[in-house]
Symmetry: C2
Subunit: 331 residues, 2 copies
Amino acid sequence: MSELRQDPTTYDWVIIAKERAKRPHEFKQSEALITPPPLHSKDCPFCPQNESMTPPAEAVYGTPDDWKIRVVPNKFAALTPEGDTIRNEWKLFRKSHGYGRHEVVIETPVHNQYIPFMDDVQVENLIKAYRDRYNALKKDHNIKIIIIFKNHGWAAGTSLEHPHTQIVASPIVPPFIRRRYEIATQHFDNTGRCLYCDLLKSELEASERTIAERKFFAALHPFASHYPFETWIMPRMHSSCFGNIVDIEIEELAPLLKEILLKLYISLGNPDYNLIIHTAPVDDERKTYYLWHIQIIPRLTLAAGFELGSGIYINTAMPEATAAFMRDVEV
Amino acid sequence: MSELRQDPTTYDWVIIAKERAKRPHEFKQSEALITPPPLHSKDCPFCPQNESMTPPAEAVYGTPDDWKIRVVPNKFAALTPEGDTIRNEWKLFRKSHGYGRHEVVIETPVHNQYIPFMDDVQVENLIKAYRDRYNALKKDHNIKIIIIFKNHGWAAGTSLEHPHTQIVASPIVPPFIRRRYEIATQHFDNTGRCLYCDLLKSELEASERTIAERKFFAALHPFASHYPFETWIMPRMHSSCFGNIVDIEIEELAPLLKEILLKLYISLGNPDYNLIIHTAPVDDERKTYYLWHIQIIPRLTLAAGFELGSGIYINTAMPEATAAFMRDVEV
């Protein structure tokens, strides 16, 4: 018999298909699928010597001739800082200009260097670059939410293999995010506590889904994981806004993120994945109802008609089993 | 500059990437990708002579030896009629048995006969089979919502190519569906009218996204389409519950559905797609706030980190352009 589990942060339900569930090692891709990319690619717009293939940089870490991280506007930006944010309506149809920002963080000059294989300092600087851009982008008072995300591999929606992260700064807080806030606000109004801090405390107490527990962060496969091997990295001290992360936290987060991604790399065979930094809307940063966190979604399964038509996800892995498996992966 | 558009039924926002938008003909897959399946496959559990490979049928249309449509329990059911629907809680974690039903409608005995190539009567009988199963499944008082959906092709999440539809009967109405209801209820409380009927009226008045307008149904690419070539077929007379569709409506719907799917088949090169019948929760069938409708989602693009992290979809096609293109496809 399968199990229905509710996500306490969204009230969404997930079907954990226990009998159909694969065992954790069965999700590993065959090695044949993994063709290692080269160190440098002459056609790659993100490789050194090809800087003219991107729009001029917004920020460069290192020197212009020996950069370590480059931040550039997305050449195919979904949102651009043009026009205004005024809504226009005709009958039920509401629209506005696609105002906003869309940047690319080129994570390394090395075409084939994925995060788990970077040195710790490079990953620390990468997280600092995310923080810098977050805090720079929010100065535009039209910007209401900043989404930092990474698409690794084709099934995760990327077309460029050079390691990169994207940042979209949007003038609109979508219902997808507002709903999380409403639920967390109601929990706070009822209990006086942050929903996410309570959730983390319960996860650590249950312990069966915990992968790593450090001073400032913990990593786990959540109770109502929507996807096999879905992984959350949560701060242990309350902070709603990613932009407020401090250096001492980054020094712990960088090796932890490397470790988690390396465990996924080893156990799943370099899976395609999305990484998302969930953080409060800009105007809600000071509220104590929310906890910024990182979500990693390996793209091992496809959403089908049932998921698209009901919002109920079928997860073919038990998060308790995948977490135990991840704990045991040697890195 | 791109455009932000709001879906009036969910309040979700979509980015219509106008400059990045492909023109409609550019979405067509190369013919090389299309390998026609055989008429009959000896290993297919849904082909005649292989009836013993499925659980015993719940319903058969035609005779047992010369069936036209067979409905069987899903051998790998996500939900099964075992146990109870009682929620168990420990701290913030809520779960229940995976109670429910999961059926497969084998649409035809012919392994390679897709809906647009069936005769009208076969498609009418298929829609009647959906209706019969809907009305049979809702007799279980634990069932609160029935989702009828179809996964056509690998990218739409199917592993079996023989034409089939699935039906999941769930004891839980998920927030994904409740939210649509809340928005429609608020519209009704404010205006005294059905949101979806108002929406259809506005779409028909705007006319630029309409593909077909018949006596009982209209087909269109909605204003805030989340996906390129996303198509809705909506009843023109108010009805919240698919289970109440009458034969005279089915006689119009069958050839219309064939036509829409044939236009997609021709213009996109047999695309993978999901088809979903959205209908009211069982206990809300009598309410006048909702309109059952069919949504067809060709799987031409992938949701990436931005979509998974914000719920904002980037659509790389203009629905006005794809609708005009669909209108002109000769069938």
